[in-house]
Amino acid sequence: MSTPQLFFAYFAVMMTGLSLMVVTRKNPVHSVLYMLILFAHIAALYLFLNAEFLAAIQIIIYAGAILVLFLFVIMMLNLRKEETEKRFQKQWPLGIGIGVVLAVFLIMIVGKIAVIAPLGPYSIDAVRSDGHIMTVGKVLYSEFLLPFEIASLILLVAVVGAVVLAKRKIE
């Protein structure tokens, strides 16, 4: 096995394990912290795939914003007594079953598909000469300008919606 492959193997094993830890921990805070480590690994994987900007985003948005939001909510709700209760529902064997079958199916698909497509212009060297951020920016602000604007709208709606939903009723 070459070095990159060894590298990938480490990530694959770690990420699978971390994912399992996330979904099995009793204490939600622990789950979130495992998730944090998992996100760091994913960011590293993005670096491995020459997507530096995405790696930064992964850390800043996911780890820095979304997970912190989760932590906030967990602490706000103060769910001490929940920890002593059962963590899985009655249907958990079915959940495992579906998860396993799905994994098998997806793996079988991987065996079946072959990606045959003309390569795009963004080779590693091309991206490297301009820098990843600039490349992404050019595509985002030209080809995907409209979806980009829509995304901003979605965020706006989310901001308003979150405020409206979470605030106490004003009397």
Binding site: L49, L54, L94, G95, P147, L165
Partner: protein, 100 residues
């Protein structure tokens, strides 16, 4: 070189674990977290495709997924809080308001 299929396999396994978490956990917050896990697994495969096809589209899509995920988390958790205020529970098997 790492083959593309390895990434896909990793992504598939993570996704399945996410599905398992989504279907089995009692805690609503964990269910949300499983959802994030599934989204991330998809992101991995998208970036991998993007890399191997030397195209930017996959990565752009990841941007949008992150955007939507952030919005979804904010709204979802807000709903959770609003709900918790009325019924002090976040155990999903105790919530059956939709029962017919």
């Amino acid at each position: 070189m790492v083959p593309l299929s390895w990434y896909i396999l990793l992504s598939a396994v993570m996704f399945s674990i996410g599905v398992f978490g989504f279907l089995s956990r009692r805690n609503l917050i964990l269910i949300f977290l499983s959802l994030e896990l599934m989204l991330n697994s998809v992101n991995i495969s998208l970036v991998a495709f993007s890399h191997y096809l030397q195209s930017m589209r996959g990565q752009i899509l990841v941007f949008f997924i992150i955007t939507v995920a952030a919005a979804e988390a904010a709204i979802g958790l807000a709903i959770l809080i609003a709900f918790y205020r009325n019924n002090p529970t976040i155990k999903v098997d105790e919530i059956n308001l939709m029962k017919g």
